[in-house]
């Protein structure tokens, strides 16, 4: 019974979101930030924390680092492919493996990276779905 209810909720949510998806691309820059926050909370927050600080020695911060503020294709690639390399940021090393998130849509990745590049004190430029698409294709 419970399962059935959960399933219904899931289906309802999916339907709602599928609907939202069609409107997704038409939204403005501010919309991208709002949607990006939603993706951030659901996918990124658990490891990178609500404030983008990460966790010492385990999960890298998203603040004050060229991984986030540098060239966009490299950043997009990390989201698509995950990350399992030695990383040193501001003298600290981080050991946890990041899983790939290629199941996110181009627009979701664009939104969440826009959010990350403009939040926590970062002042980077937006990322577009077209930029994500390009990296995904050249993967």
């Amino acid at each position: 019974m419970k399962l059935r209810f959960a399933l219904m909720v899931l289906i309802a949510c999916f339907a709602f979101n599928a609907n939202a998806q069609t409107k997704y691309k038409k939204s403005s820059g501010a919309g991208s930030m709002t949607r990006g926050l939603v993706v951030y909370k659901s996918v990124c927050l658990a490891c990178h924390m609500a404030t983008g600080t990460g966790v010492p020695h385990l999960n890298p911060p998203l603040i004050n680092t060229s991984y986030v503020n540098g060239p966009k294709p490299a950043l997009i690639k990390i989201v698509l492919n995950g990350f399992d390399e030695d990383v040193e940021i501001n003298g600290q090393k981080y050991s946890n493996t990041m899983t790939p998130h290629s199941d996110l849509t181009d627009q979701q990745i664009a939104d969440v990276l826009t959010y990350v590049r403009k939040s926590f004190g970062n002042k980077g430029s937006s990322v577009s779905a077209a930029e994500v698409k390009k990296v995904r294709e050249t993967k």
């Binding site: 999916f14 909370k41 490891c47 050991s95």
Partner: protein
Amino acid sequence: MKTKKLFVFMLPVFAAAGLILFNACKSPDDKGSKADTTQTSATAPSTADAGLKVPAGFSAVILADNLGEPRHLVVTPQNDIYVHTQGTKDGKGIWVLHDDGDKATVKTGFGNYGGTGIAIKNGYLYASSNSDIYRYKLNDKGEVADPNNPETIVTGLVNKRMHNSKSIALDNDGNIYVNIGAYSNICSEYDKDKKGCPVLNDAAGIWQFKADKPNQKQTDGVRYATGLRNVVGLDWNQQDNQLFVMQHGRDALHDLFPAMYTTKQSADLPSECMYALKNGDNAGWPYVYYDWMQKKLMAGPEYGGDGKKEADAKYLRPAMGYPGHFAPDGLLFYTGNQFPEKYKNGAFIAFHGSWNRAPEPQEGYCVVFQPFKDGKPDGQYEIFADGFAGPDKSPDGAIHRPCGLAQGPDGSLYVTDDKKGTLYKITYKK
């Protein structure tokens, strides 16, 4: 794949609600002005000089500060303290302090490697980097005579970045035990076809080596116990003559299986576990996890579990379970005579504190006492020292995070903090 996508859309609902909780998480016990640090009343817990909350009759002082990132430590009969730091400073990763009672001063440093493990046994100081174990002969004053020329006991242990700290403990029969943590959360990237996790072959267990034989390789050791994801705190129980370890449980039950686990369940589960180990034991990672609320060993969702199915009974049950993600980094069996009788032969556990309970509040950041009877955990654990984090119990916001534990010659308890580099001493006065 579809469930994964669904969950991506579902999750914000929980996450948004939880974020409010997350941000509202404030520890109630961070008040510690020096004005009200008068010696304890008989009933209420006291806030000692160090800003920690400890039981009545106990007091905590800060012996030293800004030591870098001190991990484990050991105290000699002469009141020298050997502290191993995670990294090196001025090319040194082991620091020697002398405890003068309420202050400790740094005497010297040596060892050109950072690390976690450090122990003293039979006239030798043992210390580990993330891939090797060394030992140094101690003189009759408990000092390292030749700090620049240690014997290499074990070399080339698996070190693949994740869970790579090598904690150590020694028994009374000439063996040294070392944790080799799994270089993975739950092995999914190494066992896609679910044919058996290959990480277990060279990691995710405790290995046993000869304590006095130089240049052993990992393959020269015995895989003493397997199926342990990552152990940081471990200690030899003298009463039971047995190795006890604290396992850090897996992450991301909800993130990976949103249909089976709520964010709340994912914060509480799986248990952080204490295991009493014997040669050949298998604690079951990545196939099983322990549910401390139901007191059941559960089948992992990657291997046929559904959140309700119990595990195959062949796996070792933990001696005790603790709430999820508290991160037990220090374990010490108390054998001293200074503390009240109930502490004798019980276990202190330093919980470093969680990062992955969001959107639930983060927890841990404390030292607990686990009562023991006849060499086995007996009854509920109790918070022994709290207030390390200050008002913000989160990895970034915490002021201090407890990590290593040691017992002094007079029975005092020493605690390291690897966030601000503080060294605490907790004592009891009748």
